[in-house]
């Protein structure tokens, strides 16, 4: 069992389910953190219509995160049904609001700052492309709950992919200024794409070898970049660690925003 997982408070979960819980949390954290990032645009979008579009995507992602957290909580509680152990019974809320930075397993790409609209669009495009092929693959997973969530979410993700591709093309092949901003976004984000295709220990255990998604992902990114007059960078050093809890400095700030209320007023409800 990998260290970041066995160190946390759910140590009663046996290894075989432990890896599964870790993987489900990874899927949930990806969606939650990217959803939270996109939600930062709420009220700040460049135009009203796009403000609504990006926050719609946020809500889609947070909806996916909820489904995965609920499932993870259910598996955790099966093994330690009695409340107690410091945090009580696991729930979607406790998993989102009461885990620390090192316990989050989202990929680094999801937590990168919004930057300008170009950077947010590119982040969404790079991630949605990955998510699209991943969910398509997970639809046939032997775990029918994971498969079900993937199948349901695929429609949303297909739209995110379509919408963000169009923005990447529109800005990449737009004005001199928009092209320049898109180039800066590629510079900013590219080194966080490598991690997506390096399986974490829990992915390996579950035979979810994300490396094989890379060809489809690269093909789609190439097609869109071609149309957007952008070049796919080569020989870039790739960052990794998010999937196993080693994050960039940004995640702490996101969590302090996201978790503030529950930390300051435990159990607060409305």
């Amino acid at each position: 069992m990998e260290t970041t997982y066995s160190n946390n408070k759910f140590s009663k979960v046996p290894p075989q389910d432990g890896f599964r819980v870790a993987y489900i949390l990874h899927l949930a954290d990806n969606s939650l953190i990217l959803g939270q990032r996109n939600a930062e645009w709420c009220g700040h979008g460049p135009v009203l219509e796009q403000d609504i579009a990006i926050t719609n995507i946020s809500l889609d992602l947070i909806g996916q995160a909820r489904s995965f957290y609920q499932y993870a909580a259910q598996l955790i509680n099966q093994h330690s049904p009695s409340p107690g152990g410091g945090r009580g019974e696991a729930s979607e809320d406790s998993l989102a609001y009461l885990r620390t930075e090192r316990e989050f397993k989202n990929c680094l790409l999801a937590e990168q700052p919004n930057g300008d609209w170009a950077q947010t669009m590119l982040r969404q495009f790079l991630y949605s492309t990955y998510q699209y092929y991943l969910y398509r693959f997970l639809q046939t997973n032997s775990d029918t709950t994971i498969a079900g969530i993937a199948e349901k979410s695929l429609k949303e993700v297909s739209y995110h992919l379509r919408w963000s591709s169009e923005w990447v093309i529109r800005l990449g092949d737009g004005t001199e200024e928009s092209h320049k901003r898109m180039l800066r976004a590629v510079d900013e984000l590219w080194s966080y794409t490598g991690e997506l295709f390096i399986p974490a220990p829990y992915e390996k255990e579950l035979s979810i070898d994300t490396a094989f998604l890379k060809d489809d992902w690269a093909k789609k990114v190439n097609t869109v970049f071609d149309e957007a007059a952008l070049t796919v960078p080569s020989n870039v050093f790739m960052q990794e660690g998010g999937k196993t809890g080693t994050h960039t400095e940004h995640l702490g700030y996101i969590l302090s925003d996201l978790q503030y209320l529950q930390r300051a007023y435990p159990g607060c409800d409305w």
Partner: protein, 125 residues
């Protein structure tokens, strides 16, 4: 000073309407939504019904207008088909001519099919 410029349908001036923008490759130079043309949105709530006017929005091109309409007007399952048309292509009747256009119909109640006894089986008349 005139802070609010209100446009009526068919009344969108070319200089503000961004009529030169026809596809995603030629976005407006200003980059602000205010420079994007206005589009009217029509939503069909279900198969067999008509598209009904839902509202308007700004978008750089037709594709973006469809997507914006999807996000703005169908979030609560209001529809399953969207039409968009640039507002400047709509010709509207002049409100000042309302009298001559509509008033003559007022005293012609015999045009309403309300003088027939309908059988109970006939709904939706």
């Amino acid at each position: 000073m005139n802070y609010i410029r209100k446009f009526y349908y068919g009344d969108i001036p070319e200089d503000k309407g961004g009529a030169e923008i026809s596809d995603s490759k030629n976005p407006p130079s200003g980059g602000r939504g205010a420079d994007w043309p206005l589009w009217e949105v029509f939503i069909r709530s279900k198969q067999g019904l008509d598209h009904k006017h839902a509202g308007s929005l700004h978008a750089a091109d037709a594709q973006m207008a469809i997507e914006n309409a999807r996000d703005v007007y169908t979030r609560r399952m209001e529809g399953e088909s969207i039409w968009v048309v640039e507002s400047k292509y709509i010709t509207a009747s002049n409100p000042e001519e309302a009298g001559e256009l509509y008033d003559p119909a007022k005293d012609k109640i015999y045009r309403h099919p309300s003088f027939y006894n309908l059988p109970d089986e006939v709904n939706l008349m």
